[in-house]
């Protein structure tokens, strides 16, 4: 930034200067902390003796700062953990001067433990897990005693045997224990083989018991046999167990360690001079009980995030084992986990994250990754796994992007992280991205989950928009001969549509080879997206009526005048027609299309038009049929721009012209095109928009109620305290009933209304899905699936609808939970007791998603 340009800035220059000066000043505590945080940034092996010396000199005066430095380093720079262990181990080694004052390492660990305990209290699982990594390295480094390490792990496996443990809690506890075992198993098994075996068995038992809802979140779907394992994706706990068992079989003595162990190069410790550190015993605290749910009164957003953890987690595999780290192998698992942790931790700064990831080879054992071409080969780097770093990174990020039902961070994070990686090293990351796209594209034909396919499309188009829309489309030309609604052709169409939205029609047209432009390819529309005002043509019926209305709207006439004019138009129409036209419908269409027409230039123009004439819209949106007509008119007007359909629907709901249920009804039944009655990605976006709108409103209403209630409780408490202070008791109304304020009453009423609406829209969606899928058993057999090359559009439409039904159940399970009985009784009444495969599957998916017996 420049400090001299622009006169407007002068005023603030002094402030800025002060800021900079303040930043420079560091207290001794901050200095020692950042010494530890920055340790290893250049070359950890070389820095080690020097930093250890500095700490020996200065640590005793500020043990808490040192321990905090370690805590931050371990939990925010997990790639440095082995070196932090080596650093602490150096401090454990007595020197001549320090012999008198005892081990600094012990004092640091004492304080570090306090931090660990506070992570435990908050159940900050990632931090807990990374601290455990640190402890296990210290166990191997002979600083921590094997007995206390084992006891710590038993505290985590104890969680797995709790009655009714939630899956989120169980999964995290299992990962903590397992990953620790992978690192310290060698030492722990020497110490007590039976106890290690017991640990593994407990984890195994837990994984077996917790897998009932696996079929619903597998990224690759086989509707005919949901429990069959699929190639290319493994459940996380399953992979952990495969790794643990492989390690256990060789007593955790891998020929070359999967972990850096720099402390093994230090001189051996004399345990009589440097005794083992015993970790205190600990209990994993119980989860705070979530009394309120998100649909009842007063719930919090927290409930949803907690629910997200309730599902098994799948890991996607795109490349062969000799190309990228195989997460089911002892050497591959830690690499995938390290990448995954870095991606999560550095979410606040994707640029730094990308830089770190591209530099990852520095933090893994030599030979883990293939050296960059031309880079000097150091000792041990020519043999080993020699994986491709960039492919490992992209595979791990995409695996996180494909997590179901939801990603941890917004999909946009993973998308822009990959963009950043490509910018950082285009020659190496570019090819990895290209290969990954081809692999994912290949999965589309083999049951790739529809929601994951949707995210893949988003990623593809957004990624291309950052790199000049350069894709080798010609390799997909042969797929244009597939049936039109085949997942691959759906992908092509959606990807091009999204690219056009981010850019413009002619630009994208130029990037596509000739065969994609042929009308029968149906890959993109011939014309650029635009409005279609049906009453523009003077030869069309109602042209004059529409023109007269348009003139009023263009002249910014008052809403009342417009309403009066519409009434006149209606009367004229009634008189002139012979009763064969639905006059109301025509009037709604003319009005809606005219409003959209004056607002067709941009999103803002649309908002202005709608906002100015809200009374007009309200006057025509008087019934469910009327609302359906309004939606239909919008779809007709924007039939060449589906983005605008989504926008118009969203704002019509926002302005309360239509209800979310109206939108759901339209998406399923009223759309009147070739796909009516089924749900494709476009229709799902509309359904999702409606459900999210209803759920979001309830969330806001609840927050408002909670806030007002808290304020009032506080007021009452204050008033009461005040009363008690007044000795004069004759005026004090002793038993004043607690009446809610008008504001709270209104908020409660709103909450009740919105909750009803939420239930209505959820119910409507479920019913529509049941209707749409009741007659679909023909595509559900294994034989039919294997014959899918011969499927026609209608078969694929049904298959896709099944995909969105699964998605509906798993994404909205936390909301559906509160109404499950009421909703399912109504929706499934028609198919109650039926043995038809489709009917059984409908009920099974529902039950599994709500954690009930299938």
């Amino acid at each position: 930034m420049s400090y001299n340009r622009g006169y407007g800035r002068r005023r603030n220059r002094d402030d800025d200067y002060d800021d900079r000066r303040r930043d420079v000043y560091e207290s001794p505590e901050e200095k020692i902390r950042s010494l530890i945080i920055k340790f290893g940034d250049a070359d950890a092996e070389q820095e080690l003796p020097q930093v250890a010396n500095q700490l020996r000199e200065r640590a005793l005066q500020s043990i808490p700062a040192v321990a905090e430095g370690f805590r931050i380093g371990v939990t925010e720079e997990p790639y440095k953990i082995p070196y932090y262990a080596a650093l602490l181990r150096s401090l454990h080694q007595p020197t001549e001067e320090s012999a008198s004052s005892g081990s600094i390492a012990k004092q640091i660990l004492d304080d570090f433990w306090k931090g660990f305990q506070s992570f435990l209290d908050k159940l900050a699982w990632r931090e807990i897990r990374l601290c455990l990594h640190f402890f296990t390295h210290l166990t191997v480094a002979q600083v921590i005693s094997p007995s206390s390490m084992l006891a710590l792990l038993q505290a985590f496996t104890a969680v797995l045997e709790e009655f009714g443990v939630s899956h989120g809690r169980g999964k995290h506890a299992a990962l903590c224990a397992s990953e620790a075992l992978m690192r310290a198993g060698r030492i722990l098994k020497q110490y007590s083989a039976p106890e290690v075996t017991t640990l593994i068995n407990i984890i195994q038992n837990y994984a077996d018991s917790a897998s009932s809802n696996k079929p619903l979140v597998a990224p690759i779907v086989l509707l005919h046999s949901p429990n069959k394992s699929v190639e290319g994706a493994d459940e996380l706990l399953d992979t952990v167990l495969i790794v643990l068992k492989a390690l256990d079989a060789v007593n955790f003595e891998e020929p070359t360690s999967a972990y850096l162990e720099p402390y093994l190069n230090l001189p051996p410790l004399d345990t009589t001079v440097s005794p083992y550190y015993d970790l205190p015993s600990v209990l994993v605290p119980p989860e705070a009980i979530e009394l309120e749910n998100i649909t009842g009164e007063g719930g919090e957003a927290g409930a949803q995030t907690q629910k997200k953890e309730e599902w098994p987690e799948y890991v996607i595999r795109l490349f062969d084992n000799d190309v990228t780290a195989d997460h089911t192998s002892p050497a591959g698992y830690p690499v995938r986990t390290l990448i995954s942790d870095i991606v999560d931790i550095f979410e606040v700064n994707r640029k730094e994250c990308a830089r770190l990831l591209l530099d990852l080879a520095k933090w893994t054992p030599p030979g883990t990754f293939k050296p960059r071409p031309g880079a000097p080969v150091q000792n041990g780097e020519e043999t080993g796994k020699l994986w491709q770093l960039e492919s490992c990174i992209i595979e791990t990020i995409l695996s996180k992007l494909c997590r179901l039902p939801d990603t941890v961070h917004k999909p946009m994070y993973y998308i822009s992280l990959i963009t950043e990686l490509c910018k950082g090293s285009p020659q190496t990351v570019g090819p990895a991205v290209g290969k990954s796209i081809r692999k994912l594209y290949g999965l589309l034909a083999d049951g790739f989950d529809v929601e994951v396919a949707r995210r893949f499309t988003e990623w593809f188009a957004t990624h291309m928009s950052n790199f000049g829309f350069q894709w080798v489309w010609k390799e997909w030309i042969p797929d244009l001969s597939l049936t039109s609604h085949h997942p691959k052709r759906n992908f092509i169409r959606r990807a091009i549509e999204t690219e056009i939205r981010l850019s413009y029609h002619d630009r994208i047209l130029k990037t596509l080879p000739e065969p994609f432009l042929a009308p029968e390819a149906d890959a993109l529309p011939e014309q650029a997206p635009g409005p279609e005002f049906d009453y523009d043509d003077p030869l069309r019926p109602h042209h004059d009526a529409a023109q007269s209305l348009l003139n009023l709207l263009r002249g910014r006439s008052k809403a009342d005048d417009v309403i009066a004019h519409i009434e006149t138009l209606k009367n004229n129409l009634v008189e002139s027609s012979d009763g064969d036209v639905n006059v109301d419908q025509v009037i709604r269409s003319i009005t809606m299309q005219s409003l959209l027409h004056i607002g067709s230039r941009s999103f803002s123009h649309f908002l202005n038009a709608i906002e100015r004439y809200l009374p007009v819209l309200r006057s025509i949106a008087t019934s469910a049929d009327a609302k359906a007509d309004i939606l239909m008119s919008a779809v007709e007007f924007w039939r060449r721009n589906r983005q605008m359909v989504g926008i118009v629907f969203d704002k019509l709901m926002q302005y309360q012209i239509v209800d979310p249920s109206d939108v759901v009804a339209w998406a399923f039944t009223a759309r009147g095109d070739a796909r009516a009655g089924t749900i494709d990605a476009f229709a799902w976006d509309l359904v999702k928009g409606a459900l999210d709108k209803a759920n979001g409103r309830v969330l806001i209403a609840k927050k408002k109620v909670a806030l007002l209630r808290k304020e009032e409780d506080d007021d009452r408490a204050r008033a009461k305290a005040h009363q008690n202070m007044e000795v004069d008791g004759d005026t004090a109304p002793e038993n004043q009933p607690s009446i809610d304020s008008p504001a709270l009453t209104t908020a409660l009423k709103a909450n009740a209304t919105l909750t009803r609406e939420q239930k209505a829209v959820l119910s409507r969606t479920l019913n529509e899905f049941v209707n749409a899928l009741s007659d679909s058993s023909s595509i559900l057999s294994e034989k039919s699936w294997h014959n899918r090359v011969n499927w026609e559009d209608a078969d694929w439409d049904l298959w896709e609808t099944w995909g969105w039904y699964r998605n509906f159940c798993r994404v909205y399970a936390p909301y559906l939970d509160s109404y499950s009985t009421a909703l399912s009784t109504v929706a499934f009444s028609k198919i109650e007791g039926s043995r038809d495969v489709a009917h059984v599957l409908l009920r099974n998916i529902w039950n599994i998603s709500l954690g009930q017996e299938p």
Partner: protein, 226 residues
């Protein structure tokens, strides 16, 4: 987190140079802001392109989404001049854009996002001498996406331009020129009285008060940004 690296969602040194509120108040507003200033746009980029990209950071399930987009216009010609405001319903969505969208490309230009104090009347217009943004006054390079330096913009771009030029010919100034985007859900039935009561205790009142204050302190509203 953020001991090791700084977070990308911190406000930068961008500020509305004509805002008349003190630094403390500005920081306070920014920390709650749900509005973004978007810079380095091509003059040809449409609101729909902006909507498509920025809706990817929306959280409709938490009551969020793109509330409105205000296109920055040349004061004289009423054509887009390379910036806009994107207003969400929630602060978290704006922060997500700072982390994930700022510094990526839209319409093949690297765009920049900054937290903004919030749109107020007049800020949709450029503040440069010739009507556009100040940065385009003295620019030495040729930038086809921002009007080039002569009349030699590519023919393709010119065609798109004609469309764009007409689009905002009807832009108004003064109160009510820009739509609000729709407020929070309100009880529909029951007439005005319940409406008012429902509205009074929540933040809507606060923000309009803040708006009045700012306007009062800023009598000579000049167009946006230096």
């Amino acid at each position: 987190m953020a001991h090791v690296v700084s977070s990308l969602d911190q406000p930068s040194n961008y500020k509305d140079s004509q805002a008349r509120v003190d630094r403390q108040k500005q920081n306070d507003l920014l920390s709650k802001s749900s509005t973004l200033y978007i810079g380095n746009l091509s003059f040809f980029t449409t609101e729909e392109q902006i909507y498509e990209l920025f809706s990817k950071c929306g959280s409709p399930e938490e009551g969020g989404g793109v509330k409105r987009i205000i296109m920055g216009l040349d004061r004289n010609t009423r054509t887009p001049c390379g910036f806009c405001f994107v207003e969400y319903y929630t602060n978290a969505e704006a922060l997500a854009c700072m982390r994930y969208v700022s510094g990526t490309k839209l319409d093949e230009r690297v765009i920049r996002c900054d937290l903004d104090l919030g749109y107020k009347e007049g800020r949709q217009f450029g503040r440069g001498k010739s009507g556009g943004q100040v940065r385009d006054e003295h620019r030495q390079d040729y930038d086809a996406g921002r009007g080039g330096w002569g009349a030699q913009a590519q023919r393709m771009e010119m065609e798109r331009r004609r469309e764009v030029e007409e689009r905002y010919a009807d832009a108004q100034d003064g109160p009510g020129a820009v739509a609000g985007g729709g407020g929070d859900w309100k009880e529909a039935s029951g007439g005005d009285q319940t409406l008012k009561r429902g509205r009074s205790p929540d933040d809507e009142g606060d923000s309009s008060r803040a708006g009045h204050r700012m306007k009062a302190e800023d009598p000579d509203i000049e167009p946006e940004r230096m």
